[in-house]
């Protein structure tokens, strides 16, 4: 039964990657529940399936087995429903994944346009809050790694997503910028009751979250 306060429910997720002999069973019957407004950190060793989990939760790849429900909508409800759900999610990728031919501001603008939204000033506030307003007209190649990551965060949050998924968001930031980003996550989480699922290796980063779960061998250990 879906309870109102639960934003995300994953049940019995299985996912294998690769083909033939190289095929790897990454997620092995994973269960996860995230409550509305919760800031959850997922920790675990490299290769345990954290990023694959985020890919499944972000509807970037379908699970081989199992179900994921986001705010009552199951991701198996068809491509149209999946596309609609993707628009309600914000994703901060480990490798930023900014569009190289567009400026920072245009990266955010196209993300809004894809979702049928127009810029309403939220992006400008985020650019200011994350200290990247000065690079908004620059293309990714003209920014530092840290600036690119912060622009990626602006893009993920500009449409006020119902669920923010972040894959090692501080992995490429110095400690000062990492702290300010995590502080921003916490503020947004508190002020807007923004649901956040963050993958991190850093115990310090995980410390900003309301709850920490650990993954091992494709399963959540302490759900």
């Amino acid at each position: 039964m879906i309870r109102d306060q639960e934003t995300l429910i994953a049940r019995g997720l299985h996912k294998s990657l690769g083909k033939g002999r190289a095929r790897l069973h990454v997620l092995r019957g994973l269960d996860l529940t995230v409550r509305r407004g919760e800031f959850l950190a997922v920790m675990g060793p490299s290769g345990c399936g954290k990023s694959t989990l985020l890919g499944v939760l972000g509807l970037i790849t379908p699970p081989d087995e199992g179900t994921v429900t986001i705010n009552g909508l199951a991701i198996t409800d068809g491509e149209v429903a999946r596309t609609a759900l993707r628009r309600r999610i914000g994703f901060v990728f480990q490798r930023f994944n900014l569009l190289g031919v567009l400026s920072a501001a245009d990266n955010v603008a196209i993300s809004l346009r894809v979702r049928g939204l127009k810029a309403d000033g939220a992006a400008d506030e985020l650019f200011e809050a994350l200290g990247v307003a000065h690079v908004s007209r620059r293309k990714p190649a003209e920014m530092s790694v840290g600036e690119q990551q912060r622009v990626a965060v602006v893009r993920a949050m500009a449409h006020r997503p119902e669920l923010l998924l972040a894959d090692e968001p501080t992995g490429n930031l110095d400690s000062k910028n990492a702290a300010s980003l995590l502080e921003l996550f916490r503020q947004i989480n508190h002020r807007r009751r923004q649901t956040i699922v963050m993958i991190t290796h850093s115990a310090e980063a995980a410390g900003y979250a309301d709850r920490i779960v650990h993954m091992k061998d494709g399963r959540i250990l302490d759900q």
Partner: protein, 404 residues
């Protein structure tokens, strides 16, 4: 530059320029070849339509083909006869003698015409330089007296030498050419040109647009190319009296053994005769366009393969398949629009170049063919973007974004 397709085009300048150039060459070929084939053919029709007459009479045996008609074909007295028979219908009958000669390195049809009828054949154009051949009819009179006078007992065979023809008293070997032939051959007023085994003097240059590019006295043409028989011409133009309806007049004038064609039907006859040439040209154009759009398709396909990450990012943000297809399609359209614009500009340049290098060719670039090229470009762009666009929607996001 928030418009992604344009940003992508500007980001990959060389590749975009080459793709657009591929389209430009295809469009340029389409517009220029169509303009050249149709222009050169219809320019002949335009010139025939400049003749101030409504009907053409010629031997029926030629069927509906005047394009190769030349030499002695109709007795001149036939013209006098129908003029007398239909005096209320016909204002004027103008016999002309056509013969192929070689000038400016290519075949030309020289028109033999009596000086008093010259204006009718060139649509009233005034000579730009020089004078008309045999202006006072001295040559015609001399030749008629020599050849048509009743033969005496001691004068059964009449011999006329080249020197007599070119004698300044007679002025028989004179020619008027049009400005395009003068440009193509580099001919000047007063220059002697050797053609049809005789040296002709260019005595006048008329603006292009009249029936032919070269004119000479009808008597000269009859004598030289009709085996000395100056009683026959090739065809006759008929100028109807005011208000005469050409089709009805043609039916009235037609007699067994002769055919009557309306001057305004000449264009249709040319089309029927040489329309197959358009088929060949159009086939070449289609091939050129297909190659151009295969080029665009390959470019777009390569673009999709190279930008899987970009497409996956858009998809992960909730971009619908329609949005992705529209991005690829828009890029195709932008490249094609740029290529089409460049192609049309190139066509005008090519047309100018062709006419400058080969003044006797005509390249007529019409809005119709520009519209055809634009429509073909539009359809081609849409079609060639279909497969790459479909591939864009099938991209595996996980693979493209390189998880794990």
């Amino acid at each position: 530059m928030s418009y992604l397709p344009l940003a992508n085009i500007l980001h990959h300048k060389l590749r975009s320029a080459l793709s657009a150039m591929g389209i430009a060459i295809g469009i340029c070929m389409l517009v220029t070849l169509s303009g050249l084939s149709r222009g050169s053919l219809y320019e002949i029709a335009d010139r025939w339509e400049e003749v101030d007459a409504e009907l053409i009479i010629y031997p029926e045996i030629w069927g509906r083909n005047l394009t190769t008609l030349s030499g002695s074909a109709l007795p001149d007295r036939y013209g006098d006869k129908i003029a007398a028979e239909h005096s209320r219908l016909i204002e004027r009958v103008v016999p002309v003698f056509l013969w192929p000669i070689r000038l400016a390195g290519q075949d030309q049809t020289v028109v033999g015409v009596d000086p008093q009828n010259f204006n009718m054949l060139v649509g009233g154009r005034r000579l730009r330089q020089g004078r008309l051949f045999d202006p006072d009819g001295r040559f015609a009179g001399w030749l008629e007296n020599t050849l048509l006078a009743p033969a005496g007992e001691d004068q059964e065979i009449v011999e006329i030498t080249k020197d007599q023809l070119a004698d300044t008293d007679h002025n028989g070997l004179e020619m008027v050419i049009d400005t395009r032939l003068a440009t193509a051959g580099g001919y000047r007023l007063g220059q002697k040109v050797f053609t049809a085994n005789h040296h002709f003097t260019i005595v006048g240059i008329v603006p292009a647009g009249g029936l032919a590019r070269a004119f000479m006295p009808r008597r000269t043409a009859q004598f030289l190319f009709g085996n000395g028989d100056i009683t026959k011409s090739t065809l006759m133009f008929i100028k109807l009296a005011g208000g005469g309806e050409p089709a009805a007049a043609a039916r009235k004038i037609k007699r067994p053994g002769t055919a009557v064609m309306q001057v305004d039907q000449y264009r249709g006859m040319l089309k029927d005769k040489f329309g197959i040439m358009f088929t060949y040209v159009d086939a070449v154009n289609v091939v050129a366009m297909v190659i151009a759009f295969l080029f665009i398709m390959i470019t777009l396909y390569t673009m999709v393969l190279q930008r899987t990450r970009e497409i996956a990012i858009l998809k992960s943000s909730g971009a619908s398949n329609f949005f992705l297809i529209r991005q690829v399609w828009a890029e195709s359209m932008l490249l094609t629009a740029a290529g089409a614009a460049a192609g049309v500009a190139l066509s005008f340049l090519a047309g100018w170049g062709i006419e400058a290098c080969r003044p006797l060719l005509t390249v007529t670039i019409t809005w119709w063919w520009i519209a055809v090229a634009a429509a073909a470009a539009l359809l081609g762009a849409a079609a060639s973007s279909l497969y790459p666009a479909w591939r864009a929607t099938r991209i595996d996001m996980l693979e493209a974004l390189r998880f794990e």
